[in-house]
Symmetry: C2
Subunit: 387 residues, 2 copies
Amino acid sequence: MIFRQEIEESLTLKFAHLAAERRKKGLPIISLGLGEPDFKVPEEIIEATVQILQTSSAGYSSPMGISSLREKIAFKLLSENNIPATANNILITPGAKQAFLLALMALLEPEDEIIVLNPSYVSFIPQICIAEPRAKITIIDVRKSDFSVPIDHISNLVSSATKILILNSPNNPAGYIFSKEELNKLFDLAIKYDFYIISDEIYEKLIFTHDPHLSVGSLESTVERVLTVNGFSKSHAMTGWRIGYLCFPQSLYQKLLKLQQHINTNTCTLIQLALDQAFYHDQSYLTVYNNKLASRAAHLTLTFKDLHPTRLILPKAGFFAFVNISHLNMDSNTFCGKLIEETGVATTPGVAFGSNWDDHFRISFATSDENLDKGLKLIRKFVSKFK
Amino acid sequence: MIFRQEIEESLTLKFAHLAAERRKKGLPIISLGLGEPDFKVPEEIIEATVQILQTSSAGYSSPMGISSLREKIAFKLLSENNIPATANNILITPGAKQAFLLALMALLEPEDEIIVLNPSYVSFIPQICIAEPRAKITIIDVRKSDFSVPIDHISNLVSSATKILILNSPNNPAGYIFSKEELNKLFDLAIKYDFYIISDEIYEKLIFTHDPHLSVGSLESTVERVLTVNGFSKSHAMTGWRIGYLCFPQSLYQKLLKLQQHINTNTCTLIQLALDQAFYHDQSYLTVYNNKLASRAAHLTLTFKDLHPTRLILPKAGFFAFVNISHLNMDSNTFCGKLIEETGVATTPGVAFGSNWDDHFRISFATSDENLDKGLKLIRKFVSKFK
């Protein structure tokens, strides 16, 4: 394949690696980098995995996913998200990231235009380039003032050449949530110009305000143009396990089946069987966790409110704060590089999420209150020098 | 991506699915289709996995693989295969299949020529088309008389446009093993014409004759032009777990790192930690298993010796027998279709492994002796009708 220059090393992983190297050398590190929930994988899932290990060979399984797990996921999408999914719409993948990639591979053809809203998850654009090196990528930035979506701007840019619009709400890195009005307008555009929407909803369970999560897929009566990506990494703390899924229209069945067969054979049978068995476990830990996230978000907001000239729009979901440092006159790589060098605090440069976001940096607050407190104090001290 | 017509539904999986459907309907099925070892995952690995589940969060891990597991794999390649690998040459992937795909993605560019020896594993050619839709695929068939490699024919076809030669020894579906002389000649061609070799050695532990397994990677003094693919599916019965690895030259490090980051984030941490912990488990079960395979292979040979007009070249490794049915005047899909329809015996049509092999069919003997016995009796009866 042609390696377009957009296929960069993931900056989130690069800074995580830098932090690990510092730690190895015995230097202090406060990691506010990666987005890994700081709660444990639910005990029911651990127990189910142990049981499967002791009773099943967990050999080859169906490429599309184990049917009873596909059924449970479809029912979850129907009952919680109002997405008209059946088991036939579900593909189970090694991580939501790969669900996203397979969707792109099944849809994108040379010269197709695809619209990405920035700031965006670090792998969206590289994955587009992997799926189809000759795709035409149109970047649209949300407004820096309030992270709102410039619908009119999008309306002006879409055309009959538009094949896909990528959405990610709740958003990483900016923590915003689409309003119902925004989603309706975007969906209307999709109908009018006949394009697909791929909606990454991996942060849906980590909302700590009263804003509701709305799935754009709920606006259709059968799954036709909206592909929904989700998984168990953020809601179940199963990050390293790699388990996610795609809800896709039937027209893509053959392509996705072939891709899955030739790329994965099947997604890890053991993990699928365990999730299937423990699917309806107690999820009250999410309420507890979201309360923690709300309190940390408040802490962040207070910190940056006083820390001129930085600016922070309160995140509503996820565990990231995306801080505006435009008045510091420093690019984000320099800022994050100096920050880790001088204080040991690892964060992620804004440019990782889009070239127009080199005046932001991302803080993960998926960490202990103590760690966050220490990190914020050091950031405050560091920023104060540049006032 | 462009879906070339070569990206077909995997016929092995399709026939396995047909068999499962028949079984659901309550019809008898004797599966001689898929290649899944009929021994259990080593107890040490199960125990290690349980322990990791109970003690570790198994969260995100290094994209290239957990370093101590990479070290152990490199040492295995060095000590067992004479491949000059270090941990830096190792990428751990969700299955050997994906190791193979990532190697192709890192290497292949538009118009590159790649040579595949047929009969070949069902996913090789589809994966080439996924990795680079504009690759030029040259197919060379091994000799039908003895599955020997037509080195002279290959010499005539390679040129400066040749980028990669794919090798798979021990071979699926034909069960042959390259001789030292063949490997030396192929490696000399690789030097002369400056191309890469991707060597799939997943069946190396399932050899039941006295033929030695030789890794073509052992012919280099540093890993430069040979990429070795292997995994734990066949040697550890961990088929459904999806864990494999690639040994690659350092020049590909950046490309593979980026591909892995944006496709997988990391390979399942839990499974890597368990394998790392139980890496040096007792492998005497392999001797026991290979003795079983030898006895089944002998049974197959005796069966087909008397079953004119079919012909079977004794497999030396793996658990597949590739039977010549050219004198039956029936294409392999028809043969396997009628066979499953009339007798309930599921096998795989030869055409799945190359268009010139439509006069063969594949029998998996990774099944109980009883099952194999029943299946062979039914095949004998079925074939006898066409004499």
